[in-house]
């Protein structure tokens, strides 16, 4: 362990006051009974035998294997009532009882079944090839004596120590031991798990983080006891015994399979869950075969037809038996005395039965097999039409729409509920700094997406009014107006941003003009807060010389880009300082300034704010704070409320424009005041015990008060093209839209506003769980009761509402959802959700997405459609009646699992409203016409 070596430049523990430096808790020994899984780290040979032999890291997502393909695929095919019927009919037609040749029954059946099976086989082959590629990926594994060598993923065993390098995927669920950073942190991108592209910080245990060299693992051993494999991505229960001491493992020390290592040279980890035990695979749902509503309905019709058929056959065979018994003995030309099975006047029952079978076959044309063949062909052609539709072709990415299964074409016309992912589907996952309000003055003129949409709507309304006034004679003027609006809207869409993350336009601030503004001091402070108060790291792009920022959330990155554009370029971070290059245009030469970071009070969703305490070059101590407006406004000092009124007004405007807002504030500190507080803070930080976090919070709270308001920022979560309009049209068409997202609640609500899912004046019902991490049964019960109460209260409220135009929006968060989805509660939840115009679920795991989808599908019995783009949406795409994948940037899993793929969310409108409608109508007409002859 060469400590003097040059390693990663940062010691991050000072940045993460709450997260790091957690003293190991020894009282967890009691919780071992919940941890039946034992893992001997770095001793994979221990796991060669039962009972410690766990499953291999080989994964297979195929439905069939070589041997099971035939029986399973056949079974799948003959799950259809019609196919079973035709098979029986075909088998009977081979017997001598048949009134006609068996080929006419067998051939169509063979074609129908054969084509479907071939399709299945092809799809499964693709899955197999994908698995093969994944299984063959290489990762560096400890083979003993401190030597690491590359092995394919499938050879990895539980207990192995693996070394994952930058931008590689984790091959299995790992216990994070150490990283190339000295203090054992690493950055992880969990796009495949929750769809978020921002980086997450994981950190190794204090005890093992010094083991950051290959050599160190020569002697390393440890024993992990942990929970059994389960699909929950955000929890982990377990502990590790290392150096005869017991340490608790918390979820942030687990590196999950399929997430990616970023910004970190390498990490070491011990394999805990392999292959299908890993959390991602546990989240995977097997792809079910989907069938369209018409097909299901046809099954029912076929049952009815079959009943009629049996009835007819029964009647005819009874008639046959009666006639044989009473009349045919006199029919000498039939030679009634020479009997056989089919003709026996003495025992009419036997030929009667034989005739029943014959009649079943003979009248079998009542059930139209040709209809099935025709439907298959028509659907295939319809799928071609969908693929060929030029208005669903995305010019930018060059991807046309694709109907991957033709089974569900007509189902598109009957969708009732759309369940949508957010990131990448509704939004581009890109934040743009759009507006700000400093010292009570609003800056920024470029309109947000929502404002554009509203303006357009107004233009349309105006046009309609005009039309009403002008009579039908003036058709020309009407089309002129239309032309105009089209042109303006195109202008809006074609507007090209020069800088990613920055869409700010106001000559008062740009190009150093802010120096001429009256509130120069406040502006300066505002820009400095933007540039200093964050946790991002700058990264120099070697090709272009530009700086990019790796931030925890994309809005932080947007702030930094904005600060850079205003002339405050954050370019370097050391363990204790932030370096800013300030440029004042008259002089031209940038001034480099160093701000010493004394403390960093982290952002948590509970606190909804973050602060830094810095000492500038003049030795002055400043507390810079940014956070949710309501929180900041509560903490302003008396003389810090100068701009409160104006800022609040601006914030409301921004909120209406669908922007994400944060308020910025600061406070000057005396040296003595600070040192008094700091000693208390340090004490709290190093304290041991359960109330440590509460103490820390309390201490931070003491500091973050009597602030002086500086201003507010408004960031736009960039929506994809045409999303609000599309959602609006779909809502007009009577579809319900649910958004299921892995994002924070605030973000989700914001996006809800931006894409016109939520409107001002809608009543929001937020359902949240009591914050309790305790595992006890009683606590769980309490939480559950609480949620149930919230749900029933809300339902009651809706029932009592008199105003018929009142609209409700339900917002529920992942942890709460976990309770709400339990068997005894889900129907209450669904009942409430159905009453609401929009539903937004935040912080949901892929499994929960699938569960919600299933709940909607089964609870309402209506057709559901799930749309998503990432690997985290696969479950829901597979679960819904129709799954749609956005074939965009985030890999192909969603598309692979989907039934249809489109390049942009806005194409959904055409797919549903035009193609769905046509397909449904045409298929329905064809079924009627084809059924008519029978």
């Amino acid at each position: 362990m060469t400590r003097g070596r040059i390693r990663a430049k940062l010691r991050r523990s000072q940045l993460y006051t709450f997260a790091c430096l957690r003293p190991h808790v020894n009282e967890t020994e009691g919780s071992v009974q919940g941890c039946p899984r034992v893992i001997y780290c770095n001793q994979p040979h221990m796991h060669k035998k039962r009972p410690l032999k766990y499953c291999t890291n080989y994964i297979s997502t195929t439905k069939y294997n070589f041997f099971s393909y035939f029986p399973k695929a056949l079974f799948e095919q003959f799950n259809r009532v019609a196919n079973i019927y035709f098979l029986i009919a075909a088998l009977l037609s081979v017997t001598p009882l048949s009134p006609f040749s068996p080929v006419s029954m067998l051939l169509p059946l063979a074609i129908v079944v054969g084509v479907s099976m071939a399709k299945e086989a092809l799809e499964d082959w693709r899955r197999f090839m994908q698995d093969k590629e994944v299984n063959a990926r290489k990762v560096s594994v400890h083979v003993g004596n401190g030597v690491f060598s590359y092995k394919p993923w499938e050879k990895i065993q539980v207990g192995d120590i693996v070394k994952v390098e930058k931008d590689q995927f984790f091959p299995a669920d790992l216990l994070f031991l150490s990283s190339s950073y000295e203090d054992g942190i690493c950055y992880v991108e969990t796009m495949n798990l929750d769809g978020e592209t921002n980086l997450k910080v994981k950190r190794a245990m204090e005890a093992t983080s010094p083991l950051n060299e290959d050599e160190a693992f020569k002697e390393f051993t440890g024993t992990v006891k942990c929970e059994n494999p389960n699909p929950s991505l955000y929890t982990f229960v377990g502990n590790i015994e290392y150096d005869r001491e017991l340490y608790a493992i918390d979820p942030s020390q687990i590196l999950l399979r399929d997430s990616k290592l970023r910004n970190t040279a390498h990490v070491y980890g011990s394999v805990i869950f392999t292959g299908h035990d890993s959390k991602v695979m546990q989240n995977a749902t097997t792809s079910p075969s989907k069938r369209s509503g018409i097909e299901k309905k046809m099954d029912k019709i076929i049952f009815i037809l079959f009943a009629i058929l049996v009835l007819i056959s029964l009647i005819s065979s009874i008639g046959f038996a009666v006639k044989i018994n009473y009349q045919t003995p006199q029919w000498w030309y039939l030679k009634p005395k020479e009997t056989d099975v089919y003709f026996n006047p003495v025992k009419p029952l036997v030929p009667g039965l034989a005739h029943l079978v014959t009649a079943l076959i003979l009248y079998g044309y009542l059930i139209p097999i040709s209809l099935y063949v025709s439907i298959e062909i028509v659907k295939f052609l319809q799928a071609i039409f969908i693929n060929q539709d030029i208005s669903m072709y995305d010019d930018e990415s060059g991807i046309p729409a694709q109907a991957r299964t033709s089974n569900l074409n007509e189902e598109l016309g009957q969708v009732d509920t759309i369940l949508s992912d957010k990131t990448g589907t509704l939004t581009c996952n890109q934040m743009d700094f759009l507006k700000c309000s400093v010292a009570g003055t609003a800056y920024g003129v470029s309109p947000s997406e929502v404002e554009l949409a509203a303006a357009k709507q107004m233009a349309i309304d105006l046009e309609e009014q005009n039309r009403e006034i002008a009579n039908a004679k003036h058709k020309n003027s009407g089309s002129e107006i239309e032309l105009e609006t089209v042109i303006t809207s195109n202008d809006g869409n074609d507007f090209k941003r020069r800088i990613k993350g920055f869409n700010f336009e106001d000559s008062r601030l740009m190009d150093g003009n802010w120096l001429k503004e009256p509130n120069v001091d406040t502006l300066l402070l505002f820009f400095r807060i933007l540039a200093i108060c964050h946790t991002a790291i700058p990264e120099l792009n070697e090709e272009t010389g530009n700086l990019t920022y790796e931030a925890e959330s994309p809005d932080e990155a947007a702030f930094l880009v904005a600060a850079r554009e205003f002339g405050f370029e954050f370019y370097r971070r050391t363990q204790s300082s932030v370096f800013i290059r300030e440029r004042y245009p008259p002089k031209g030469q940038p001034v480099e300034r160093e701000f010493k970071i004394l403390n960093l009070l982290d952002f948590t969703s509970k606190r909804k704010r973050m602060s830094v305490i810095v000492r500038d070059e003049d030795g002055q101590i400043l507390l810079l704070c940014k956070g949710a407006d309501s929180i900041i406004f509560d903490r302003l000092s008396k003389n810090g409320r100068m701009y409160e009124e104006a800022t609040t007004k601006h914030l409301n405007e921004y909120g209406e424009a669908g922007l994400r807002t944060l308020a910025l504030a600061y406070k000057q500190l005396d040296e003595s005041e600070y040192s008094a507080w700091n000693s208390e803070f340090q004490k709290a930080k190093s304290s041991i015990g359960a109330d440590r976090e509460a103490t820390l919070e309390h201490v931070s709270d003491m500091m973050e008060k009597d602030l002086i308001l500086v201003g507010a920022t408004a960031v736009e979560d960039k929506l994809q093209k045409g999303v609000p309009q599309c959602i609006d049209k779909l809502a007009q068409a009577g579809l319900k839209i649910w958004v299921l997202t892995g994002d924070k609640m605030e973000t989700a609500i914001n996006i809800g506003f931006a894409c016109s899912l939520l409107r001002q004046g809608m009543k929001q019902i937020c359902i949240t769980a009591l914050n309790s991490d305790s595992v006890g049964k009683a606590a769980k019960e309490a939480v559950k009761d609480n949620i149930l109460m919230q749900i029933t209260n809300a339902s009651q409220m809706i029932k009592l509402e008199r105003d018929p135009h009142a609209a409700y929006a339900l917002i529920i968060e992942g942890k709460t959802l976990a309770y709400a989805l339990e068997d005894d509660m889900k129907h209450h939840f669904l009942g409430l959700a159905v009453e609401c115009a929009s539903v937004i679920c935040c912080r949901v795991s892929p499994k929960q997405k699938a569960l919600v989808t299933r709940l909607v599908k089964e609870g309402t019995g209506k057709t559901t459609l799930a749309i998503g783009d990432g690997a985290n949406d696969v479950g829901m795409i597979q679960e819904a009646d129709i799954g749609i994948g956005i074939s965009g940037v985030e890999g192909m899993q969603a598309v692979m699992a989907s039934d249809f793929s489109i390049a942009q969310f806005r194409f959904l409108e055409r797919l549903l409203v035009v193609h769905g409608h046509w397909c449904y109508k045409r298929i329905a007409q064809m079924v009627i016409i084809k059924d008519f002859p029978t």
């Binding site: 994908q130 030679k335 089919y342 693929n387 539709d389 208005s391 060059g398 890999g891």
Partner: protein
Amino acid sequence: MPGSDSTAHKSKSRRPKYSQFSQQELPAFKLILTPGYVISTFIVVGLIFVPIGLISLFASETVVEIVDRYDNECIPKDFRDNRVEFIKNKQTNKSCTRTFTVPKQMKSPIFIYYQLENFYQNHRRYVKSRSDKQLQSKKNAAHIRECKPMGETDNKDPIIPCGLIAWSLFNDTYGFSVKGKDLKVNKRDIAWGSDKNYKFGADVFPKNFQVGDVGGKSLNSSIPLSEQEDLIVWMRTAALSTFRKLYGKIEDDLQANDVITVVIENNYNTYDFKGTKSLVLSTTSWIGGKNDFLGVTFITIGGICLFLAITFILLYVIKPR
């Protein structure tokens, strides 16, 4: 698991080609049923159908048809209570004479039919009991599997022609005379040409036919099946239990009020199964035999159309929408 990145790049050419067909923009026409269209369609249909119906009804009226049921009358009075025994008894004299008057002039050719009722030639056991292969060619003589239960004699020799149909061949005969002069009955060309030429072989001769259990008519074993036109007619089984089959043709004209005397050999057993037998003499016109159905149908449909057209016109005039 990142997807294949390559698909995003190589795809500039994936833009679907524009054509009116692929974009479903082809000009479409959807008929809207305006009163004008509907009324004029009904009038046109009515005006075409009614005359056609009248013409075919008239044509059917010109056909002269004589039907004479003889199965009861041809049983001697002594046997009226015991018909089956009479018909089965080989000793009884089965000749019987019937006379009837020609109502109108009948131009040649006059077709002679026999009509059976309640005879199920369409019974599955019956209709399948034949061997087309055997009938077609000499070499298939042993092809009697389908012919059960009338495939072979008691000595296991194959019967030619085998099967129930052939076995139950109709065996009444008719002799006609007018004013004491015999009328010649032409029994040639009463079967279908295709049957004679292809389905019944010229080299197939009856063998073991009606040996032992006699069902119907026996065949001259020196005449090939293709010449046995009575058999060929009989083997083309009827679809309903009441049917007529061509017996022969009279190629002389008959005048009105001519009295025809028919000498019938009443051999065929319809008494067992309570069937009837009739003799039918009929001329033809361009619509075939006597058949009012076609004309009546045309007139009815035409009439309904005209009625609807008038109703719609009235509705349109009195109470337009």
